[in-house]
């Protein structure tokens, strides 16, 4: 369970992590194997999972309707396990651009996209995204026209959100794999859009 053989002073927090873990294992609450397995499980969950869902929605209109009505069921139908995820998928259209934030902490569809990036959890994003989304998106290099409505979703309770970006022009006839490769994590949060 140690990171490597070298002695290095632990920070207070690292000492706390080891202490809590050892106590929990000694008391039979958890095992080291369970912790290792859970770490590996989380490593597996990367934004490629969400990208696969988006690509399927782009090529299959029935799947897209199912995704919008029953996010978890649609993901499971692609073999993507999303235990207990109350997934709500919000669709970008030429009239509407969606973006997601959790002002109170860092709620995020982790089971689908993995661990959120530092900036998503930062004070500046959490404070400003609900109040001045256009300015924040501009800082991300995304300029949304005044004629497009922006909808910001504040993930305050049990729902978790994924943005279904618009399929860009110039991708006609592409395979799902090729389409998934242009869907990045930030486009599923709503601070970016897929580009050809």
């Amino acid at each position: 369970m140690s990171d490597n053989g070298t002695y290095r002073p632990l920070t207070y927090f690292q000492l706390m992590e080891v202490s809590l873990r050892e106590l929990l294992v000694e008391k039979g609450v958890l095992t080291d194997a369970q912790v290792d397995e859970a770490v590996e499980d989380m490593r597996r969950r990367t934004p490629e999972r969400g990208a696969k869902v988006v690509a399927r929605a782009w090529v299959d209109p029935d799947f897209k309707q199912r995704l919008l009505a029953d996010g978890p069921g649609a993901c499971e139908s692609l073999g993507i396990d999303v235990p207990k995820l109350r997934l709500v998928v919000v669709e970008n259209t030429p009239q509407v651009h969606n973006a997601v934030v959790c002002t109170l902490c860092s709620c995020y569809p982790r089971m689908l996209l993995g661990i959120p990036p530092d900036w998503y959890k930062s004070r500046n994003y959490r404070s400003r995204m609900v109040r001045e989304p256009r300015a924040v998106l501009a800082e991300f290099g995304l300029s949304i026209p005044e004629t497009t409505q922006i909808r910001v979703h504040d993930s305050t309770a049990d729902m978790r959100y994924m943005v279904l970006p618009m399929r860009p022009a110039g991708t006609e006839g592409w395979s799902e794999e090729r389409l998934a490769a242009i869907v990045n994590r930030d486009s599923m949060i709503g601070v970016d859009v897929p580009k050809v």
């Binding site: 109350r86 709500v88 109170l104 109040r131 001045e132 409505q149 910001v152 504040d154 309770a157 729902m159």
Partner: protein, 107 residues
């Protein structure tokens, strides 16, 4: 009667009071404890966008209680220009937030 987005395993004795499209006001209370209704939205009026389903009350779960009976949770839609007096952006821009029924009143 509004259908929930998620039918949860919690049998709830608390009936949903609001339908999609209802105008609702967020209570302007400032109690203690763990609260999931953000400060910035309290006192504001919006529209029910959907019933998410019924979930245990996080205020109670945080205090090591079971949070039951499950409470109806809604997504409520607000116009940005109604929430921020100095909002810079399109008049059409929206904010959508999950709010538990006990924080909402008919507007």
């Amino acid at each position: 009667m509004t259908q929930p987005q998620f039918v949860t395993e919690y049998r709830s004795s608390v009936l949903p009071r609001f339908d999609v499209g209802d105008r609702v006001k967020v209570r302007a209370a400032a109690p203690l404890g763990h609260i999931r209704t953000p400060f910035y939205i309290r006192g504001h009026t919006g529209t029910i966008e959907r019933l998410c389903g019924s979930f245990p009350n996080p205020e109670e779960l945080a205090q090591m209680r079971d949070g039951l009976p499950a409470q109806p949770l809604y997504r409520v839609r607000f116009r940005q220009k109604d929430v921020w007096p100095d909002y810079r952006g399109s008049e059409a821009d929206l904010l959508e937030i999950e709010i538990f029924q006990h924080w909402l009143e008919k507007a």
